[in-house]
Subunit: 478 residues, 2 copies
């Protein structure tokens, strides 16, 4: 159980850094900034990890400009940190070794929407909300929903994001048809075309998706789109036991219901949203279900689902069809994260996640809740049940070493528990800086394989060093 703390930051050579920034300023003018506020905005601040600002920020407008940035960075051996919206949770946009943040927010054009092919071509800075707004007259949508509406599609691809709809539509792994990226040596690689599938060599698309900016800077994405569902029904279902809630999800999937979302809030999380949003939900493990069905089959489906839930100990079953009613019904779910942040303002939050086989989910959640209790932590739990993925968000006082130690112990045990159940140390947040040790626990020699790939493609560790595994920066440079 290695510590999850990132290594102490090591700065690149200051002369080289100054020269790189001078080159960038000459090339990009006021689209290169070293202002303190700007730099601070580009460091991670959403989580327990310390912010580590870059030395400068640059805003390229197209692929050629990214190539120029990479060439300058390579010439001076300065790290580059690709930046989308900064909504990632494991320090992905931090600059532990200094360097240049490459803000892709101005590359936000929707290049093409191919409705008949159920795909679109976007630049990396397009947000998922922007894309869905643009698609609203096509009858199509892009369904991956990590919870942060302002998340960029490039960032979502880089972290292999997923969220509430993955049980129905999969993750970014499943929804990027191909992409274009600038590699560490300035080469531009397009990993495929717009075909739905390909057997043409190594799957470079999937290699880059989830590589957290360490192998290339994504400059364009081809994304899958889906028809808007014909009819949606939402339900909120409290259970006597956590096992009953999980069992209901398993049986619903076995029975072939098309669940678009199956979210679990534990009693502590329900208590938090009740207090935050003035709700009066029973303080019990509660499923938030979204069913996609045909209008005709809807009522029959929801009745069958209620029977299934009641047989597993549901103590209530509210459901709704209209968009307004559904939004009202799901208010507790939408407020889950902000309820915690607001009720515990001034405290730090560990926003972490693991993912286990669904048959082990109830056990893993129960043991995790008991462990938090023993450690004296308030740790609300929220799960994407259909995937066996859940979030624990314990709050703590970052100034209290005892609480920090307790959090570390809690996190290490959480990951050990998930791995013992043949799960993964992260279902959707990624490794970043926060889970480098846990990645080794999970994959062992697999991490050496990742390092070998990284070394082959980025021998000087220019792209987002110090993420996924420790950087070679800080060693004498080659």
């Amino acid at each position: 159980m290695p510590s999850s703390l990132p290594p102490p930051p090591v700065r690149p050579d200051t002369t080289a850094l100054a020269a790189a920034i001078a080159d960038l300023s000459a090339r990009f003018g006021d689209r290169c900034s070293t202002g303190a506020a700007i730099r601070q905005q580009h460091a991670n601040s959403l989580t327990w990890l310390d912010s580590q600002p870059p030395d400068a920020v640059v805003w390229p407008l197209d692929t050629a400009e990214i190539v120029a940035v990479v060439e300058i960075a390579a010439r001076h051996r300065i790290p580059l940190i690709p930046f989308g919206a900064g909504t990632s949770l494991e320090g992905h946009v931090n600059a532990p070794h200094g360097g240049i943040s490459v803000d892709l927010g101005r590359m936000n054009r929707i290049v093409a929407v191919n409705a008949r092919d159920f795909d679109c071509v976007v630049e990396p800075g397009v947000t998922r909300e922007q894309l869905n707004q643009d698609l609203r007259d096509t009858g199509l949508h892009f369904p991956v929903d990590p919870g942060a509406g302002e998340a960029t599609l490039g960032g979502m691809a880089s972290t292999r994001a997923s969220g509430t709809t993955a049980v129905r539509y999969g993750t970014m792994r499943d929804n990027v048809k191909s992409l274009t990226a600038v590699l560490a040596d300035g080469r531009v690689v397009r990993t495929g075309g717009r075909a739905v599938k390909s057997a043409a060599g190594y799957d470079l698309t999937r290699l880059l998706v989830g590589s957290e900016g360490t192998l290339g800077i994504i400059t364009e994405l081809v994304l899958k789109l889906y028809p808007l569902p014909e009819h949606v029904i939402a339900a909120v279902v409290p259970f006597a036991t956590l096992e009953g809630a999980c069992e209901t999800a398993i049986e619903a999937i076995q029975s072939g219901y098309v669940l678009a979302r199956v979210e679990l809030l534990d009693a502590i999380q329900i208590d938090a949203v009740n207090r935050y949003a003035g709700l009066t939900l029973p303080e019990a493990p509660t499923l938030f279900i979204e069913l996609q069905t045909s209008r005709e089959a809807g009522r029959a489906d929801i009745a069958a689902l209620e029977a299934l839930a009641r047989a597993n100990g549901a103590t209530g079953f509210d459901w709704a069809e209209s968009e307004d009613d559904r939004r009202r019904l799901w208010r507790a779910r939408h407020n889950a994260y902000w309820a915690i942040r607001t009720l515990h303002a001034g405290k730090a939050i560990l926003a972490t996640d693991v993912c286990v086989p669904i048959s082990r989910l109830a056990e893993c959640v129960t043991e995790t809740a008991a462990d938090a209790l023993r450690a004296g932590l308030i740790a609300p739990i929220l799960g994407h049940v259909g995937d066996g993925n859940f979030h624990a968000t314990p709050v703590f006082d970052a100034a209290d070493p005892a609480q920090v130690a307790a959090i570390h112990g809690f996190l290490d045990r959480l990951v050990d528990r998930a791995l013992a159940m043949d799960g993964t140390c992260t279902g959707e947040h990624g490794i970043g800086q926060g889970k480098m040790g846990h990645l080794v626990d999970e994959l062992g020699a697999g991490v050496d394989v990742m390092r070998a790939i990284k070394s082959a493609l980025d021998p000087h560790d220019l792209l987002n060093p110090g993420k996924i595994f420790a950087s070679r920066f800080g060693q004498p440079r080659a």
Copy 2:
């Protein structure tokens, strides 16, 4: 348009080869063979590519034995060619540089079926038919169906196989949760656990799936399983035009029908099956559709689908519900490949495929058919329409240089056409020996990235050299 012919075979050093075979014989006894018939059986013989038998065949029984094989091969710098059932179509199991075929057929245990997690753990030699037979009492199935029932799941993963059901269930890319593989240096790597999703570092699972045995020898797979469909309806629908058939598929997907299969046979292919199987189908572009639906919705769905097809120029619409009736209705589809082989016995067949965005499929198929006609080739076409993937299987006399040249021209133009439509040079057959040049046409610098990964993980090119890209064997050894 480079030639697609594989490079001339180069043999490894004969002394080293003899020493390696001696070591293998000492270790594996009669599970290592150099018999001519055995070696011949392990070379590809299904396609136009010449058979290139290995120097010996070895049958390991577990991961540790594969490690032993790899260590012997590494010591003597002898190529290893992983072998499943030999049903691949691009020379994947050929031994252009000699070496040892590693037959995984005796590693055919189903290690675990986890019904509640919708997954199973299998050894690579398990066939898809064996697995589905084993699953028959669970209500689950493994749906990927490349057409060859005897294909092994390890081989299917290695070639990123798909087939008729990919429109509903995806390809092997989507259905391998994780895998264990022995790398070229003898390390055993497990790429993940049984969680549905993971954001833990580079996606090594997807890197190995489709790597055609060039990066590792798969020793175990965790596969996704699915509930058996509640109700299945099959339909056979001839169309006045190819465009009408393709448009029907697009509109059906847009309307949200759950199409499990959407196959297109062109008029030439229909003529072949009519003659081969004594059928009397109209010689027209014909869709073979399989719809998965609820029993209640079935009749309504099929009526709506017929209306949609008629509006697009369908000239008939036969459908069936019982398994026997469905099999009878689909007889033409099931006989498609053997109809060609039998009607043109003694001739060679180019069994190739490309994949394009579905909106371009009708155009691509039409142009391909016209091109074959101009080239004097009989080239039946069969498509997985929902994926924009189609097969052309022109027959030719391999002894006639003019016909061989015509075939090469046809293939190069087919790939150029697909790439010009933003498609891929292969949707499901893979690169193997047959499409190495086309891969460069498609991905350019991307192939250099693949080579860099290959060199990092297998610097001596021990694992299936001469597939995907040319081998360094034949160059002086390092």
